[in-house]
């Protein structure tokens, strides 16, 4: 069955899923979000976002911003030295109980009873369809029309934390600093560096292994554009099934 044919089918949703089928899925650690037809789950994601599983490259001309900032993370190069975290904390005054970027760790079985860690840097994905923006009751968090960065207008934040619950990427924390009292998150160093003419975020500049590549997605000569459109590389995004369409891409290079 072709994707084009699948797209014509109605998504029956997940509420009609037999519990056995659901359990089998959850055993794999997968979210049940898919199209369900005649007793078998055909896709882990709705067909609309099936592209996300295979590469999640943004469709040309769609969701384009005059200065479309994006970050590519070359995951296999990450060695968890955490200089990015240190630079971010210093630049953006992030308190100890929160983070704008962090590194996750997974132990991979390399056979012979041995394991090796896999490190995965994470940050706000600056989604094209940001769930956080959709739920904010005061427009304190919004999608910047110029850059595509998901911004925080802290003076409008009432601290309801709905955005924190909505974010599929756990990229937000509540900054309790007196005088701030608002949700904080990565904004690609917009206020601290990029708007002042710097071309790199603090984390990208601090990384000794060249993991974080920051730049303009709509500039075909930029490194991020070339990495995302490399013909022989698999590009992926975190949790494509949410349909949030991140602007933070991962690649092994």
């Amino acid at each position: 069955m072709k994707i084009s044919e699948l797209e014509k089918l109605e998504n029956e949703g997940t509420d009609k899923l037999p519990s056995e089928e659901r359990r089998r899925f959850l055993k794999f650690g997968l979210a049940v979000t898919g199209v369900f037809l005649g007793g078998s789950v055909l896709s882990l994601t709705s067909v609309r976002n099936a592209q996300g599983v295979t590469g999640a490259k943004p469709a040309t001309g769609k969701f384009s911003y005059p200065k479309h900032y994006t970050m590519v993370l070359r995951q296999n190069r990450c060695i968890d030295c955490e200089r990015c975290k240190e630079a971010c904390v210093k630049t953006n005054h992030v308190p100890g109980y929160g983070y704008r970027t962090t590194i996750m760790e997974q132990m991979r079985d390399i056979g012979g009873g041995k394991t090796e860690p896999v490190f995965m840097p994470v940050l706000c994905n600056h989604c094209n369809r940001p769930p956080c923006v959709r739920v904010c009751p005061t427009t304190a968090t919004y999608k910047d029309k110029e850059t595509g960065i998901v911004m925080m207008a802290k003076e409008r934040c009432i601290g309801c934390k709905t955005c924190m619950a909505a974010c599929p990427y756990n990229a937000r924390y509540f900054d309790e600093t007196a005088g701030v009292r608002a949700v904080d998150k990565c904004n690609f160093c917009w206020d601290t560096r990029i708007s002042k003419g710097e071309t790199q975020t603090a984390c990208a500049e601090a990384c000794p292994a060249g993991v974080r590549i920051f730049g303009l997605l709509n500039d075909e000569s930029s490194k991020v554009y070339k990495l995302i459109h490399a013909p022989d590389k698999k590009v992926w995004v975190q949790r494509p099934e949410t349909g949030a369409m991140p602007n933070v891409f991962y690649i092994n290079d």
Binding site: R77, I79, C81, Y99, T102, I103, F119, N170, Y173, P208
Partner: protein, 137 residues
Amino acid sequence: MKPARIDLKKLFALLLVVATFALFAGQAIGEDEEEDGGTIIFTQPVKAVIFDHKIHNEQGLECDSCHDDLFQMETGAAEAGDDFTMQALYDGKYCGSCHDGETAFASKTRCTACHIGVKGYNRATGVEEKSGHSSGH
């Protein structure tokens, strides 16, 4: 029963000697385990890189395979130098002497085979990591 008493004394003396010997021998065995250099964790220039002497000994390497041409035996000597970098490894210095893609896997590959990161370092040294808001959804 005179002889028996002498026997007891001798036995006691013998026991003492054996016990003392065992004590020293035990210490010596313990020292031997330390003698192979144990596990080294480098924290410069980045935190953190692990080197396990045992794994390398099991590959059939002797102490003088690396000491003292590639590495001083003294802990921290390599880190004190300015040239203890990945570039130096690519140029065949330090680990790069073997980790060149021929004798052993190349230094440019399998980063996390040696780079255990801040998380690995904290686990190895028993430091509690600051959690941030990392509790998952």
